[in-house]
Every structure is written in C-alpha cells, then in structure tokens.
Point group: D3
Chain length 160, copies 6
C-alpha cells in the first residue's frame, strides 16, 4: 500500500514540531520568490512622476524585505533559524504593478524557501504601507516561491 | 491648481518618515483583511482526511497571524506602534484554497489596516510552511485589506 | 442550566484569539508574581562567599526579568501589548533557594498578571543560566501570580 | 589546594560576560526539560470535556514553547545564539497537572539546556494564559532540565 | 542637609528597576538628538559623486534609525515601552561628516529622549555599515540629546 | 584606469543588499570597539561615592551591550546574522568619562566589527539612560571599531 503523504511539520499525533534536520547535510542552498502588488493607474503615475523624489518608497520595501528574511524564524513558528549568507530584494514598477523579487542564500542543513517567500510577502506589505495614502485599493495579487536549489531534493523551478 | 496627491510617508525631499499623528483623535478603530492560499487538490484532500489530526496546521497559521499583528511595527518600517485591543485570525479550507480572514482592533490615533494586512500575509506564509512538504506549488494568490472603520476618514469597504 | 465556564482565549469553535478588550475601562492595574529557584548548598555558599563579586549573577536575573515583562506580548501568543508604567524584579538568596519577586504596573484595558508571571519565569531561567556551571541540578520549583489589583474583577491575592 | 568552583558567566571581577566558546568542538548536542503546571479539578475537567474543542489551548502552549526555544538568546542575556536543528514541545494533561516536555537539538559549540528550559518555562506561562480565566490559581510547580547529551561533559540525566 | 542626587533607575539597594511613572501626566512630549559620523575625504567624495546612485546609503540609515526608535524599549533595559506618534531621521552629508538628526514624539507618561538618542546612535552604526568597505576609519564622533519638551520638567535645550 | 571604490552594500543600481558571503571562508574572527560617554563631575562623583550601591548602573550597560551584540542583525539592516561565540563588554569610570570596551568573537564567513560597534553604541545609550536623571548633558563623545582580526583582510588596528 502506498504511504500517505505527510505534513512533515506535524507529529503522528498531529502536533506542531520543528522538524529534526540534525542529520541533513550542510550544503549551499538558495531560493527565490516573487511578490506582486497591484496598484492604481494614478498611483503608478505618481511613482513615475518627477515632481517629488520617490526613491524611499522602493528603499523601504527593499529593506523591509531584507530584514524580514532575517526575521523568518521569529515569524514562521516552525522555521529553523538559519545563518543567511546573502539576500537581495528588487522592487520594480511594471505597468500598474510592482514586482518584488527576492533571493536568499545560506549554507546550512535546510532550505530558504520560507525566507524568500516571507521576505517577498513582507516587502509587499511595506510597499502597500507606502502608497496606501494615495491608493486604498493597493493589494497583493501574488506571492510565491519561484526557484530553489541545493539540498537533497535538488533544483526546482516553478513552471508558469 | 489641484494639489498633487502625496505619498504621506515621504517628506518633501522624498525621505521616509513615520508620519506625525500626535494631533489625531484617539478613537476606536478596526480593520479586516483577507489572504488566500491556493493549494493542490491532493493537499486539500489530505487536510480534509481523517487519518491524521491536522488541527495544528490551522492553529500554526492562526497563531502566526495573531503574533504578526502584534509585530507589525517591527516589520513595516514606518508603521506606528499601536496598543491592539483585539485580534482574530480565521483559517478556512474552501475547495482548493485556504481563506485567512484577520480582524484587528485598537483604540488609538491611527488605523490598523497594516496590522490586518500583515497578519494575513504572515499567516499565509505560515500556512504554506505547514503544507510545502506535500505541495511545492502552494502559493499566495491574494492578500488585501477588506474593511476599515474609525478615524477621520470613516468606514470603508473594498468593493469586490 | 448553569453556563459552562469558558476558556476566554478560545472562540466558540475552539480557536485561539486575542480577546477583544476594546470596551473595557482604562484603569490602573498591577500584578505581582513569585518565582523560586532551588539551588545546591554548595551553590548557595558560593553566592554568599566573599572571594569574588557575585553581583552580576543577581543583576542579570533582574534585568532579564524586566526585559521579559516588556516582551510578554511577543512571548505569550494571545497577550495584548500593554504600555507598562513600572516594573521591579527583586532577587534574594534565602537558604538554598533564590526567591524572585516581580511587580508590574500599567494603566490600560487589561491586567498584567501574565507580564508579572512571565518576568518571574524568565528571570528564574536567567538565574539558572548563571549558576548552571556549578549546579547542574538547579531548577525552578515554583512560579505563580501572587497578587492582582485594578480592573473590573478587583483585588485578588493568592492564599498560601 | 582545590580550586573554588566558578560562576563561568562572571569574569574575575564578577562582571557578566558571554563565555568564549570559540575553541569548543562543533558536535551534535541535545537537551530536554520538563515543566509542570498545576491546575484545578474544574479546569482539568473542562479541558477533558467534549462540549467545546480545546485543541488550541494545547497548540498555543506548544507553539509558544517552540518559538521561545528560538528566542532564548534574546531572553537569557548571556546565552549564545545557536542554530537549532530541531525542537519539540509536548503538552499532556495528567490528572490535575499539565506536563510540558521539551526537546531541543543543535549541532554547535555549546549545549541547549537553556533553550529546553526556557521553552518549557514559556510554554507553561502560555498555558496558564489560556486557562487563567477559569482557574486563577493555576501555577507552575516545576521547570527543570531533565537530560543533556553531546559536548565535552557527555551525557547527563537528572536522577528523580 | 541637602539630599544627595539619585540615580532614579536604581532602588535604595542599588538595584535596577523600571521607574514607576503610573502617576505622571499623559502629555505631548518630544525630543531630538544629533549623531555625527566622521568619514574620510575619499568616502565623502564617493557619496557626492554621480557615477553610481548612493541614495540607499542614506535610506538605510534613516530607516534603521526609525526602527531603532521603535525598538528602544527592547534595547535599553529600563526604558518604558511608549506609543510613538511620530519619528523622523534626517541624514545629511556636511563636509567630511554625516549629521544624523532625529526627532521623536509621543503622547505618554514619560519622555522620549532615549528614543531620540538610540535612534541616532543606531542610525550612525547603520551608516558606518554602509561605508565601512571604503572607509575603515569611519567612526561616531558624537551622539547627544539636543532638545526635549513636554512633561513636568518642561522644555530643555542643550547649550552648544 | 583605476577602479572606483565601491559601497559594497549597494548594487550597481545603488540598491541596498545583504552582500553575498557564501563563498567566503569560515574562519575565527574577532573585533573590538570603544565607546566613550562624557559625564559631569557631579555625576562622576556620585558614581564613585559609597553611600548607595551603584553596581547596577554598570551592569545594565554591560548587559545591554551584550544583548545588542546579539541583536545586531535586527538593528543594522544589511548585517548578516552570525553565531557569536563570545562577547564581553567592560564599563569603566575614567575621570569624567565612562569608557565602554566591547569584544566580540565568531567563527563564520564574515567579520563582527558591526557587532562590536553596535554593542558599544547601545551600551553607551543604556549608560546614559542610567545617569540622565542626574546629568542631563551626558553624551556619547566617541564610538569606533578599534581592532579586527580574522578573514581575508587580516588583522587591523586603528592608529590613535
């Protein structure tokens, strides 16, 4: 009989646990994620306009994302604390959306998908905080892990 | 000449700042948000199956959301620290999605939209952490503020 | 039929929530707690001996307790964030025990029992960290709320 | 002449310090702890009763414990920050007590007793927070390290 | 006999405590601080040069300062947690120094000098982190509270 | 043509990033920093006087510094989280100044200058918090990295 797939973060009794990764290999691991914020045409125009420097709107989202990557183990209850070796967050205005791409690296026993995902989600929230005064409807329309590499399960990339 | 809309978190020089709300009224304020995680049919079936108790998968997301509401001022650089007076996070399995609804209350000088939004986004991330072992493609397909009440700008509700 | 007592932090569906205290009165509130660490005779003698100044062993526990009082809403998932207006932690060597007494005050919508209790528990842990090199068996033998005042339910004191 | 035992966290001048473990071996290490909360007969009956699901009362304590294990270096002033590789917290109702057992693993230069102890203490506090509305007298009656393995000092187990 | 001045954060026994401010008035309070970082001529020239955008070097310091203001009660052991109502951090290149000016507001029972000072100190550190790769000698040459207003002790300004 | 020196924390587009150190060697690294607080003659005399124990004024600064070393990655946006293996903070009264010397060690891929610097800066702030009631003019007059060792760039020491 085929074994039922398991929710690895739950014990046999269905109780939350931080999975034991003690015996996994320390290897270089990397993950990337994408977050997309939908904004109004007026807000997009304002962000592109030259009247007032808008640079910090993007900087705040970038920095919030980088810091969230480092805070992931405090935010996601069952995540392992990991020594991140690099993190980038890119914020780009594309039409009436803002695309936020995160990339996180570690050399550790488990992967950094959650760090990349959480960084993207929090950066999206921080960006919305910057523009909510002019665009009440700004909303996150996607956050997802895009690529993952390193570790036993090897490289992986979302097909879109 | 009509005044250009402003990004209120930026100064005239375009620099990030925490907006001065000292002169705003202390009033009861409330906001709610919705987050939606798309999961696979297999994952949805597993969450509904009776073989293993899955309660903690939902509990973890709920608790992560409540704690994120309280951590918002640490996560979103320009948010004011607010004394939250109540927070709920509901996690419901609806077809092949998980709907996460947050509600946050305060009695303070500024609103709690960002707390509701951030709680929803982090709860979505925590839920994905619980199921990623069985559903690599699990992803956030929406996070948005849904209602807001209290304060000078009055009640507001997203039209959907 | 008499109503069954409720776990107030659970909804009717048994789900964790941060209770809504929006309509409670802002009043002066206070709570105190006691923590007791049992140590060995040798450890007690060392702490009393004059050869080396031991002051920081007590200071570390005091400061850890004060900081834990302030961190309670980050540690205890459903606690409300409260603006503490005063906190003391006293650490006293009594025979072969260390008694840690905490007192916490606020002017707010809900009480500070959990702050007093958590401060005492963490101060006990911090004290054990200081002495564990000389006393592996050091252990917490009690942590409890002792008094509470303010709020609708009035003054309360544990009978011992 | 026999050397006096030392409080290793204090310098020769009695000043607090984070002990230098740079030259210790990186090895697999593990520790477990036990916390016991005494509750009333009425509270124990309520937790066992079928009328309302009580699962989240236990989940909240479990998750608070896991997160506290990860926060130990922030809570206990002189603890080293360690990359935990696994953490479990079990919460069990035994008569009129709740037994909370924690287990923490790392592969690092120093042990995780404090992480196991702090996780147990904070989980006990979180459990009391869940039941304090129905049992004001709920109290921690014990928190202690139970076993320890790995590192130069080898395996150790509390005799009870 | 004139009374000896007191260190208000110490009890009569010289023990650290968070001072009780429960009976102080809730009033609008404000404080500002100045931090100065000395940098090399080469570093100053690089920051002024047009070849590469340098905006984020300043943004990072600003945002680190704003977040530090909010974290003050976690960083400074005996500080009260306060609901900040506004915070600005300005970073300006002046000759071969970087001047960082912080302004913090609250409506609360105690003042925000420590928030202004800590924000300035941490912003200085964050700025040094940005430039240390090109200027190893960058150093903080001053951090001080400059003005304070509100509360019983009234307005105050450092004479320079 | 000589290459222009780079701000390593900025990308080619001038955007903040956490530098990728994945390929750097894991080596023993160490850094020390100095912070100096200038106080009034009256305050210095009070700290030296025998009437009331003043020990906790120094302990608070020491402990705040040690904890800040551990919090550096949360405070300085682009710092890597590092597993510190040792930290000391010494606080000494020298004439009308207080000298705070920090020393931080790790075995990791990048150095700990920022940890040493941030620990010194926050310890200075915490010390000022202790004495500000008797010395409003207390101020930081210097914070700087003093030595650094380990890693590719080798040993370094500030010439004074």
């Amino acid at each position: 009989m085929a074994e039922e797939p398991q929710l690895t973060h739950l014990s046999e009794r269905g109780e939350a646990r931080m999975v034991d990764v003690s015996d996994k290999q320390v290897t270089a691991r990397r993950a990337s994620a994408l977050g997309v914020v939908a904004i109004s045409a007026e807000c997009a125009a304002l962000l592109r306009s030259g009247g007032v420097p808008k640079g910090d709107a993007f900087s705040v989202a970038r920095i919030a994302g980088i810091m969230a990557a480092k805070n992931t183990a405090q935010l996601i209850p069952l995540c392992h604390p990991l020594p991140l070796t690099g993190t980038t967050v890119e914020v780009e205005l594309v039409g009436e959306t803002v695309e936020i791409r995160t990339s996180v690296k570690t050399t550790s026993r488990t992967g950094v998908e959650m760090e990349a995902l959480t960084a993207a989600a929090v950066a999206c929230c921080a960006f919305i905080d910057m523009v909510k005064g002019v665009d009440r409807l700004a909303r996150i329309e996607r956050v997802e892990v895009v690529t993952k590499s390193g570790g036993r399960s090897g490289d992986w990339s979302r097909q879109t």
